[in-house]
């Protein structure tokens, strides 16, 4: 039984990768969690998860006649399975993002929760693909006008592709009053609940520098606590793994990155 979430923002700088790993670690207390760096154009997750020096990454699974297996590029870290993406030129040039669907279909067999760390853009086919493939999106937003506007766009894309909205997670919050405004005035614009409000916290930057997820690096920090609360509000609705895998394999996907 598995549910696939695309963790998406539509805009960079919202702390999406930090949020993906934090939700993953929190959900791993109760579920088998697999986290995939689905931003094949600009890898990031490997640096947050201490995987910068690994040999096999998602890129190696997306090439013609791949020698690597999904197991080779899957790393047991922090209580989760993590599939990082690489930053290397040759691997990126040879990678076909369309193969992501087959990789995710295979990963679905062994997970309760799949978190796809999605590109912070809607600018290309491959960037939108995780939103198309997922059951639901988690929108990671800052409570600012540009981020809310982009979040609404991602939501409409998701709904257009029959992908649900699991909720909105406000991150890097400097002004809690802005989040309250959204709760009171804007909650109706979003299809899912507000999962939480995570304060801007130096611990997140320190964790990134240390190459560890926030919940491993500073589990008692204010931000880590807020992420755990948000994960607890996320109602996981696992579907049949075979159905999910089949849906991924059937998805019509782009020819070009």
């Amino acid at each position: 039984m598995v549910e696939a979430f695309a963790v998406a923002s539509g805009k960079g700088g919202t702390g999406k990768t930090t949020a993906t790993l934090a939700l993953g670690m929190a959900l791993a207390e109760e579920h088998d969690v697999t986290v995939v760096d689905a931003d094949t154009g600009m890898a990031n997750l490997l640096f947050h998860a201490g995987l910068a020096d690994v040999d096999a990454t998602l890129h190696d699974l997306l090439v013609d006649d791949a020698d690597a297996t999904v197991a080779d590029a899957t790393y047991e870290r922090f209580g989760m399975r993590v599939v990082p993406c690489g930053t290397d030129l040759a691997a990126f040039a040879a990678a076909d993002p369309a193969r992501l669907r087959d990789v995710v279909a295979e990963l679905a067999a062994d997970a309760d929760v799949l978190l796809l760390d999605s590109p912070a853009t809607l600018g290309s086919k491959s960037a939108v693909l995780p939103v198309v493939l997922a059951d639901r999106v988690v929108l990671v937003l800052n409570p600012t006008v540009p981020a809310l506007s982009d979040g609404l766009k991602v939501q409409e894309y998701a709904l257009s592709y029959d992908t649900g909205v699991a909720g909105v997670l406000f991150n890097r919050v400097r002004d809690p009053a802005a989040v309250e405004n959204v709760r009171e005035t804007g909650a109706g614009y979003f299809e899912g609940p507000v999962l939480g409000s995570v304060p801007e916290d130096d611990a997140a930057a320190a964790a990134r520098r240390a190459g560890e997820p926030l919940l491993a690096h500073a589990p008692e920090s204010e931000a880590a606590t807020a992420f755990r609360d948000a994960a607890a509000r996320l109602d996981v609705r696992p579907g049949d793994a075979d159905d999910v895998a089949e849906r991924f394999r059937r998805a019509v996907v782009p020819d070009e990155p």
């Binding site: 805009k11 600009m42 990031n44 257009s160 405004n181």
Partner: protein
């Protein structure tokens, strides 16, 4: 010297516009290090550094000539292919030299008029300004007509692109 931040992109690109567009699409904040192909022989002296905020180039410095701003960008022009490393650093670009007009790198390095226009448009008139405030968020959320328009346009765009991109099955 390696800039602070997380390396998120490390590639040789024939067209520097590719990396400027990637940084813009993702609203990257950090530093881009561009090393022209022949600079490998110059022990890094031909390398240029761009400071980027919210996807928009804001500063430039050239290691070899010591020039900054638009001059530093000019020193890099016509020198591709480049090895480009992008470092994400939410704390902002550090030590990236003198201020540069947001569109200058796209103009000089990529001769890409459309990208230059997108970058100019994306550049904040007053960085960190009122769009971040609770009052601005409140005013935005109260404007139902604007929000309905954003959603409607996004739906139309998603449907149009589904057709273009072959996602049509997903929308049926």
């Amino acid at each position: 010297m390696t800039p602070d931040g997380t390396p998120v992109f490390d590639r040789v690109v024939a067209d520097a516009g590719e990396v400027l567009a990637a940084a813009l699409d993702r609203s990257l904040t950090g530093t881009a290090v561009l090393e022209p192909g022949d600079a490998v022989l110059l022990d890094g002296e031909g390398r240029g550094v761009l400071g980027i905020r919210d996807g928009v180039p804001v500063a430039a410095r050239h290691a070899g000539t010591g020039r900054t701003g638009a001059d530093a960008v000019a020193d890099l022009a016509d020198a591709g292919p480049y090895r480009v490393t992008l470092y994400a650093n939410p704390d902002g670009p550090a030590d990236a030299g003198g201020a540069v007009d947001p569109a200058v790198p796209a103009d000089l390095l990529a001769s890409d008029v459309d990208l230059a226009a997108r970058l100019r448009e994306a550049a904040p008139a007053d960085a960190g300004g009122p769009a971040d405030s609770a009052d601005a968020v409140e005013a935005f959320l109260a404007d139902e007509e604007t929000i309905a328009g954003i959603r409607e346009r996004a739906r139309e765009e998603a449907a149009r692109r589904a057709e273009e991109w072959g996602f049509a099955d997903a929308t049926e």
